[in-house]
């Protein structure tokens, strides 16, 4: 394992840099995205890529407890997606109800 460490290290650093570039691309996608759903999808994939980066870092820096951070991110992005979709559909449904009431009047 000794002589391979610098090989593993370069591999890990190269991979992290690629994923970091992908995250910046996702950010641009989330800024450009015309509709709200594009933005949610982009931020969701930023969350997944953060998880992969932290997993690689936890193996690179030999600290096992960083994997807790990854699992927390998986939960938090799941809860945030649920809350956002429920809120957005709720707002939309209320608007439709107002319009239908206006038409009845």
């Amino acid at each position: 394992m000794g002589n391979m460490t610098n090989a593993y290290e370069t591999l890990a650093v190269v991979l992290i840099c690629c994923i970091a570039v992908l995250i910046v691309a996702c950010l641009i996608r989330s800024v450009l995205g015309p509709r709200v759903t594009d933005r949610i999808v982009a931020v969701n994939s930023i969350g997944t890529m953060t998880i992969v980066i932290i997993a690689i870092l936890s193996v690179l820096l030999e600290e096992a407890y960083l994997l807790d951070v990854c699992l927390i991110y998986a939960m938090i992005s799941f809860v945030a997606v649920i809350v956002l979709t429920k809120i957005y559909t709720g707002v939309y449904r209320e608007e439709e109800k107002e319009e239908s009431q206006k038409e009845e009047k």
């Binding site: 709200v36 939960m75 649920i82 707002v91």
Partner: protein, 346 residues
């Protein structure tokens, strides 16, 4: 490794700029969520996993959810341009004097910001280089903490030992800050309708439509999230985490449960009464555990609870119960924030 840090830092500055220049509120909130995601990676790179976990659970999770609900309550989600000006402001803004002052004000604000950045950059250039061992902060205080933390507090994680044993009052003050914030939000946002019919209609409106896919997955995930929150909470003194992040994860689990199963089912095991009881008992236990010596007159440094050997869970004396109290307070506060913002009642 340097260029990786550089990419992330540039990403942070980009996020901050996009947030300030984007017109739509929802866009800035969603981008702010990815801002705190990347912030957590930087805490991991700076070798402080406690901050990474707390930022992930408390910063990225709960703050973005609260921002979303505020946008809903304000109705900024539906309309495209929420901050339209009414006719008086348009009339006032169109006056030449006001327009001229507006330009001057913008210029003055930007120059002031640039002056602050320049002054602080001057300061930063004289700071010791990044990460060299003999910078003045690395003095005997931190060495004292590191050397003595296992003997005196029994906590393997020096940061948790510092927070819950050397500086227990500060964390007690912080839990009180959380409690006061929840109390203020309760006062501000609680719409207690006196007549029960309106309340029934209100509850009916907020009951989420039952969605079988979400419910079946919530049946699997809710216990997993709670179990993971308890795991982070219980060995806060062994691995990074502890009261705040464990509590925030349990709060997020409760929010998932409310969204999937609705308020009626959640009220069966967590309503306003249990919220009040849990927070008050946890805070008073914390207060008594750490301040009984005021009355007994002794100096309160050593608690007579045995420290146990350093590795296992039931060790480090009083830190574990205090961690559990802080975790309970944080979990109840995060859930209270969510329900008060969304429905105005538990």
């Amino acid at each position: 490794m340097e260029n990786f840090r550089l990419i992330l830092l540039i990403f942070l500055v980009l996020c901050a700029l996009f947030v300030s220049f984007s017109k739509n509120l929802l866009v800035s909130v969603v981008i702010f969520m990815s801002y705190s995601l990347i912030m957590s990676i930087i805490w991991v790179l700076l070798e402080s996993p406690d901050l990474a976990i707390t930022e992930a659970a408390v910063g990225a999770g709960v703050t973005s959810v609260l921002f979303f609900i505020t946008l809903k309550r304000i109705g900024a989600i539906g309309k495209e341009h929420p901050d339209e000006q009414d006719e008086t402001t348009k009339e006032i803004n169109s006056r030449p004097a006001v327009k001229q002052f507006g330009k001057f004000y913008k210029g003055a604000a930007v120059t002031l910001g640039a002056a602050i950045i320049f002054a602080l950059l001057l300061m930063v250039s004289n700071l010791p280089a990044f990460g060299d061992a003999d910078n003045p902060y690395n003095n005997e205080v931190s060495e004292r903490y590191l050397e003595k933390s296992i003997e005196e507090t029994g906590a393997v994680n020096a940061v948790t030992g510092m927070i819950l044993d050397y500086r227990a009052f500060d964390t007690f003050g912080e839990s009180c800050v959380l409690f006061i914030a929840a109390a203020c939000v309760l006062i501000l946002l609680r719409d207690d309708k006196t007549d029960t019919t309106a309340k029934a209609i209100q509850d009916e409106k907020f009951e989420p439509v039952s969605d079988t896919i979400l419910q079946t997955s919530a049946k699997i995930l809710f216990p997993a999230i709670l179990m993971f929150g308890i795991y982070i909470l219980v060995n806060g003194h062994l691995s990074p985490g502890g009261g705040f992040s464990g509590g925030a994860i349990m709060g997020a689990g409760l929010i998932l449960h409310v969204n999937a199963f609705g308020y009626k089912k959640t009220q069966r095991f967590f309503n306003e009464k249990t919220y009040k009881r849990v927070t008050v008992c946890a805070l008073s236990f914390y207060c008594i555990a750490k301040s009984y010596s005021f009355f007994t007159g002794a100096n309160h440094l050593e608690s007579h609870i045995p420290l146990g050997n350093a590795g296992d869970i039931i060790s480090s004396g009083l830190i574990l119960p205090l961690n559990i109290c802080v975790g309970l307070v944080v979990a109840c506060t995060m859930y209270a924030f969510y329900t008060l913002f969304k429905k105005g009642g538990m």
